[in-house]
C-alpha cells in the first residue's frame, strides 16, 4: 500500500512539476493521470504496484468532492439570480451531449 501511494503521489508530483516549470494550461493531476497510464502501458510501472492505492482512491472519489459542493453555499445568491438560464443551458447541453455521443456508437459500433 505504501509503495502504491508513493507511485500515485510521485506521478502527481511529476505532473505538478511539469505544469510549474513549463507553465502549460493543464492541471498537474491530469498530466499525472496521463503519465501513469503511459508508464503502465510501457511496462515501466506494474499494475499490482499501484492498484491497492488507486482502487481505494476511486472507491472514495465522491467523498473527496463534498467540501467543494458545500462551498456552493457561499455562492448561493449568485446562482439564485441566474438559476433559470443556467438550468436551461446546462440541461439542454447535457441532453445534446448524451445524444451525440450515443448516436455515434449506435450507428458505427460493434
Amino acid at each position: 500500500m505504501l509503495k502504491a501511494l508513493a507511485y500515485i503521489f510521485g506521478f502527481l508530483l511529476i505532473g505538478e512539476l511539469i505544469t510549474y516549470f513549463f507553465k502549460i494550461p493543464i492541471a498537474g493531476n491530469i498530466l499525472g493521470m496521463f503519465l501513469i497510464f503511459l508508464a503502465l502501458r510501457l511496462k515501466i510501472v506494474k499494475l499490482e504496484d499501484v492498484k491497492p492505492a488507486s482502487d481505494k482512491l476511486i472507491k472514495y472519489l465522491v467523498l473527496f468532492f463534498i467540501p467543494y459542493g458545500v462551498g456552493l453555499m457561499v455562492y448561493f445568491e449568485i446562482i439564485a439570480d441566474y438559476w433559470l438560464p443556467i438550468s436551461v443551458a446546462v440541461i439542454a447541453s447535457t441532453v445534446i451531449t448524451l445524444y451525440v455521443s450515443a448516436i455515434i456508437i449506435e450507428k458505427f459500433g460493434k
Binding site: I30, A89, S101
Partner: protein
C-alpha cells in the same frame, strides 16, 4: 462554540459522517434524489446554516478531504489502463464518440449561456460541466471561474444524467448498451457511470473510460474555447 467549529477535525468528521449516513440512507431507500453526494452536501450546508458556522471554518477541515481529489485523478489513469483491453475492439468509434460528444458538451453550454446573457465568470465556471468534478475544478481554476459553482453544477449534471439519461436515450431510439454507457460517461461523468453499471457491466466500463477520456479532452481544449468565445471578458 464558534472556536470549536474552527478545529479542522470538525470539518473532517462532519464530511465523513454525512457521507456515510447518506450512503446508508440510499441502501434503505433506492430513490434517485437520495444520491449520497447530494444528501451529504445538503445535510452539511443545513448544519452550517443552523449553527451559524462560516464555510471557511468548515473548510479548515474540509480541505483535508478535498486534497485527495488530486491523487484520485491520477488513480483514474490506472483505472483507464486496467479497462483499456475491454474497449479495444470498438476503440476508434469509442474515441470518436467521446471526442465529438465532449466538444459538443463544451460548445453548446458556452453558446447557450452566451445567448441567455449569463455573466462571463459563470460561463467560465460551467464550460467543463460534463467532466468528473476533480478535473472540472482544476479546469475552472485555470480559466478564472469559481470552483465551488463548478462543483455544484457538475454534481447536478451527474444526478440529472443518472436519473434521466438512459430514459431520454431510449426515447430517442438508442438501443445499444455500449452507446448508453459511453454517452453517460461523456456527459455525466462518475455519477452517470454509476447508472451505466446498473444497465450492464460493459456499459459501466465504457462509461468509466468515457469519463477519463472526456476529462483529458475537456482539460485540453476548454481554455482555448473560452478564450475564443469570451475573449477580453475575463
Amino acid at each position: 462554540m464558534q472556536e470549536f467549529f474552527q478545529l479542522p477535525v470538525f470539518g473532517v468528521f462532519i464530511s465523513i459522517i454525512a457521507f456515510a449516513g447518506a450512503r446508508e440512507l440510499r441502501k434503505k431507500f433506492n430513490y434517485v434524489l437520495l444520491n449520497p453526494v447530494l444528501v451529504a452536501i445538503v445535510f452539511i450546508i443545513s448544519f452550517l446554516l443552523i449553527f451559524n458556522i462560516e464555510f471557511e471554518d468548515y473548510n479548515r477541515g474540509g480541505k483535508f478531504i478535498s486534497f485527495f481529489l488530486g491523487p484520485s485523478v491520477v488513480a483514474l489513469g490506472v483505472f483507464f489502463y486496467e479497462k483499456y483491453e475491454e474497449v479495444k475492439q470498438n476503440l476508434k468509434v469509442f474515441l470518436l464518440s467521446v471526442v465529438v460528444g465532449g466538444i459538443t458538451g463544451i460548445l453548446t453550454v458556452i453558446i447557450f449561456l452566451l445567448l441567455l446573457k449569463v455573466p462571463g465568470f459563470i460561463i467560465e465556471s460551467l464550460a467543463a460541466k460534463s467532466v468528473t468534478t476533480p478535473i472540472a475544478i482544476e479546469i475552472t481554476k485555470l480559466t478564472g471561474g469559481i470552483p465551488e459553482i463548478t462543483a455544484g453544477i457538475v454534481i447536478a449534471v451527474g444526478i440529472f444524467g443518472n436519473a434521466f439519461g438512459p430514459f431520454i436515450l431510449k426515447k430517442l431510439g438508442i438501443k445499444s448498451k455500449i452507446a448508453i454507457g459511453t454517452a453517460l460517461g461523456t456527459a455525466a461523468h462518475g455519477i452517470g457511470t454509476a447508472r451505466a453499471f446498473e444497465e450492464s457491466k460493459l456499459a459501466g466500463v465504457y462509461s468509466g473510460l468515457a469519463m477519463c477520456v472526456n476529462g483529458i479532452i475537456t482539460a485540453l481544449i476548454t481554455p482555448y474555447l473560452l478564450q475564443l468565445f469570451l475573449g477580453g471578458i475575463s
